[in-house]
């Protein structure tokens, strides 16, 4: 099947999909026993058939990863590993447009987001970590006498919000540190992971260093719970994350988790309201909430509440929804039918609980899964829409009076992934940024990411960091966290 995307791509880039994909195990695609269809959430068109990974498949993938770890990858000098990572990075850059188109097709994210943000970042992650592979001795872990070691075979299970970017976050540091990988992409967005598998093969990566097992939640459980892996890295929902944490504790496995959590944007009375409105709208809608760090909770100092809500509403009205492959699209499709249903249900609960709903004018196509950009005002912390962790294109707005109050209200959450702070006062921004219990705080900006910067949450938003020097710890055998007698 071929998809053309002239609007999004310079020249005549075409994405060619195979009709059916096997599992990428031991360096080649192997057929499985049953398949499922992955569809475009914008059109409900079937994109490809993808294989359901079974217990036997995961066993084979883990065995391949173990063999590659013991015989090849862990023995290889860092500079050799770096070469492979660089090859992967270059191939990703070469195929960036195709990968972006594929990502938009499979996930519903607008092409501007996948092409201009996700792909450059994912590629940068491989370049960045290629540089670490032969410099781990200087990262401050271990010592000359006892150089730090990789963990072994890593099981990685990722979500659907930024599929290829999350894959890069997981695989690049794992390989740089000398681990081998079994990765399970989200059920609804497997295609870029499979395209990445082709890149691994084309880069000549030794067989078994990266294995991709597709499937549903069960396949994810099989990977995360496999006794043959040394470490689990998971991105997804807090509920599943907690179960994985329990099983990892039981089996004595290392663990990193990235579980999201509604993030707060705090707009102070002296803020540049236009910039804040722009940042909020970009933060929550441009990825249609398809990001674990979407800024869905907005706290506005009461004197500027109406002004900010007006500015946000104005920008929301101007957002264009539609074909994810159209370059002028701001808002693509919701990732899946079940996600759309969850969003719809939660939005209804918001109305039922007394919050005031406003949705941008919106004419959804006949097919596909859509949800209009929506804002709730007069939201209180007790409302489900303010409490529940859900990646969705919905803003919940409430007002605050004093900085201390907003700090307390923001910190009352059991999560703590990220926050935005909008104010022109340096001392106030430092105070807010200092006291918010969140892993990432963006001052007068929102949602920026970089491979050199640690990302990850406080409290129940996660465990460990990804990116930067801190992120290497997740893939090195350092004492103190994880299994018994490590």
């Amino acid at each position: 099947m071929r998809f053309s995307c002239d609007a999004a791509c310079e020249g005549d880039s075409r994405v060619t999909l195979r009709g059916s994909y096997g599992l990428f195990i031991g360096g080649s695609f192997v057929a499985g026993s049953s398949v499922f269809k992955t569809i475009s959430p914008a059109t409900e068109e079937v994109l490809a058939e993808v294989t359901h990974g079974t217990t036997e498949d995961v066993d084979r993938a883990v065995a391949a990863a173990r063999q590659a770890y013991e015989r090849v990858w862990s023995m290889m000098p860092g500079r050799e590993r770096a070469r492979y990572l660089l090859r992967i990075a270059r191939l990703m850059r070469e195929r960036a447009t195709d990968l972006a188109v594929l990502e938009s097709l499979d996930s519903g994210k607008p092409i501007r987001q996948t092409r201009d943000v996700d792909l450059p970042l994912a590629t940068a992650h491989f370049f960045y970590h290629a540089g670490w592979a032969d410099k781990l001795a200087y990262a401050g872990f271990g010592s000359a006498a006892a150089p730090v070691r990789p963990l072994g075979v890593v099981g990685q299970v990722i979500g659907w919000s930024s599929p290829l970017l999350m894959l890069a976050w997981k695989i690049a540091p794992a390989l740089a540190c000398g681990n081998t990988v079994v990765l399970k992409p989200a059920e609804t967005t497997p295609l870029t992971a499979l395209a990445f598998a082709e890149i691994c093969a084309d880069a000549g990566l030794p067989p078994g260093v990266v294995n991709i097992v597709t499937g549903d939640g069960l396949a994810g459980e099989l990977v995360a719970g496999h006794p043959g892996i040394d470490k689990v890295a998971f991105t997804g929902s807090p509920e599943v994350g907690r179960e994985i944490a329990k099983s990892a504790a039981l089996w004595g496995k290392r663990l990193t988790l990235e579980l999201g959590g509604t993030s707060a944007n705090i707009v102070c009375a002296d803020a540049d309201l236009d910039a804040a409105a722009q940042g909020i709208v970009e933060g929550v809608f441009v990825r249609q909430g398809h990001a674990c760090c979407a800024s869905s909770r907005v706290f506005v100092q009461e004197t500027v509440l109406d002004d900010l809500v007006d500015a946000v509403r104005c920008r929301m009205t101007a957002l264009r929804s539609g074909d994810p492959l159209d370059e002028s699209t701001d808002i693509g499709a919701v990732n899946s039918e079940s996600q759309r249903d969850k969003i719809t249900e939660l939005a209804r609960s918001g109305e039922a609980e007394g919050a005031v709903r406003w949705s941008a004018p919106y004419a959804p196509p006949d097919r596909g899964f859509w949800f209009p950009p929506t804002m709730f005002t007069t939201v209180s912390e007790e409302h489900r829409i303010a409490r529940e962790e859900l990646s969705w294109p919905v803003l919940t707005v409430s007002s605050f009076t004093t900085p201390d109050e907003v700090i307390e209200r923001t910190n009352s959450s059991r999560y703590g992934l990220s926050a935005g702070v909008w104010t022109r006062q340096g001392a106030l921004s430092a105070r807010l940024a200092g006291r918010l219990r969140a892993g990432v705080v963006w001052v007068n900006s929102f949602g920026r990411l970089d491979p050199g910067v640690p990302f990850g949450g406080f409290q129940e938003s996660g465990l460990g960091r990804e990116g930067g020097r801190h992120g290497l710890e997740a893939y090195l055998d350092l004492p103190g966290t994880g299994g018994p007698d490590v």
């Binding site: 940068a124 994350g241 907690r242 944490a245 329990k246 990892a248 504790a249 039981l250 004595g252 988790l257 579980l259 059991r414 921004s429 940024a433 006291r435 969140a438 892993g439 990432v440 705080v441 963006w442 001052v443 007068n444 900006s445 920026r448 970089d450 050199g452 910067v453 640690p454 990302f455 990850g456 406080f458 409290q459 129940e460 996660g462 465990l463 960091r465 930067g468 020097r469 801190h470 350092l478 004492p479 103190g480 966290t481 994880g482 299994g483 018994p484 007698d485 490590v486």
Partner: protein, 315 residues
């Protein structure tokens, strides 16, 4: 230990207890009188309450002689201790590293001042030689001092400035995780206890300490030293009793952010680690080291979060 300590209603080493040769002077006139039967208490929020149940248990020395009774804490006491630790967190975590360091140095000083009494207690609890007891106390004092010096250095060692491809400045800073439950190692009377407690609090966490079952009186003595050093109330809370009874409450508590399993035997530690996953507590689990060796910073780092702050440049 310090009979003059105003906040200590009970004294762990009664002055009439047999002294070791090393701490002989000044000898009290030997006279026959019944030593008061000491019943120690818990240490929660800066005061010394009885266990909520009122229960106590007998503590014996290495030679089997009765030493004192200690409070037998249970779930209610654990919850009270967590509340006290949470209440103390805001101020302690925001205190300047320098000031936290000063507080830890004061603890070292108070222990040093009561060196002989600590040594005599260690000796009675462990049955070792006076020299070994003094060596353990000295090592514990040195351990406080070592960690105290970290208080204003963790951020420099652990933080980073991150270059990014864009007009932003970013820094990543360590922050304390919050309330930590610390299970003191069972195999060490004093040094192990200090070696797990100091790294938890030096970075700004507050702690609920579960004393060693074998050596609870050293934890009580330490609590009195902490009170005497005027460590802010609630920064450290000490529970004595059965680890298997108390620790599951802490591992499952939704307002505890981390748990150090040093004092939990293997099977219990596994259970606690699973319970701790319920709210994604940071689980600190090292193979227990030789407590005498300089520890390295890992235990401190295990109860830190990393916060990254992005700031636009040129805007």
């Amino acid at each position: 230990m310090s009979p003059s300590s105003p906040s200590s209603p009970s004294s762990p080493s009664s002055p009439s207890s047999p002294s070791s040769p090393a701490d002989v002077p000044p000898r009290a006139p030997r006279r026959a009188r019944a030593a008061p039967r000491t019943i120690h208490r818990l240490y929660i929020g800066g005061v010394f309450p009885r266990a909520a149940s009122g229960r106590t248990f007998d503590v014996h020395g290495a030679d089997g002689t009765f030493l004192a009774s200690a409070a037998l804490a249970a779930g209610r006491d654990a919850r009270d201790a967590v509340v006290a630790a949470r209440a103390a967190f805001a101020e302690w975590s925001r205190a300047a590293g320098y000031d936290r360091g000063q507080a830890l140095y004061r603890v070292a000083e108070v222990m040093e001042r009561h060196r002989a009494q600590f040594a005599s207690q260690v000796r009675r609890a462990t049955g070792g030689s006076p020299d070994a007891a003094y060596a353990e106390v000295d090592a514990a004092v040195d351990r406080w001092t070592w960690y105290a010096g970290w208080a204003d250095k963790i951020t420099q060692v652990r933080g980073t400035v991150n270059p990014v491809a864009g007009p932003f400045g970013t820094v990543s800073l360590p922050e304390p995780v919050g309330v930590t439950a610390v299970l003191a190692p069972q195999d060490s009377a004093l040094l192990g206890l200090v070696s797990v407690l100091a790294p938890a609090i030096v970075s700004g966490n507050t702690a609920v300490l579960v004393a060693s079952e074998r050596y609870p009186l050293l934890a009580v003595a330490l609590a009195e030293a902490l009170a005497s050093a005027e460590l802010p109330p609630g920064v450290v809370n000490v529970l004595t009793g059965e680890v298997a009874e108390i620790s599951p409450w802490l591992a499952a508590h939704q307002d505890v952010n981390a748990i150090d399993l040093a004092g939990a035997p293997g099977a219990l530690a596994d259970d606690l680690a699973v319970a701790a996953a319920g709210n994604l507590k940071r689980v600190v689990r090292f193979a227990n080291p030789d407590w005498g060796v300089e520890p390295g910073p890992e235990r401190m780092f295990a109860t830190l979060e990393t916060k990254t702050i992005w700031h636009p440049l040129n805007s």
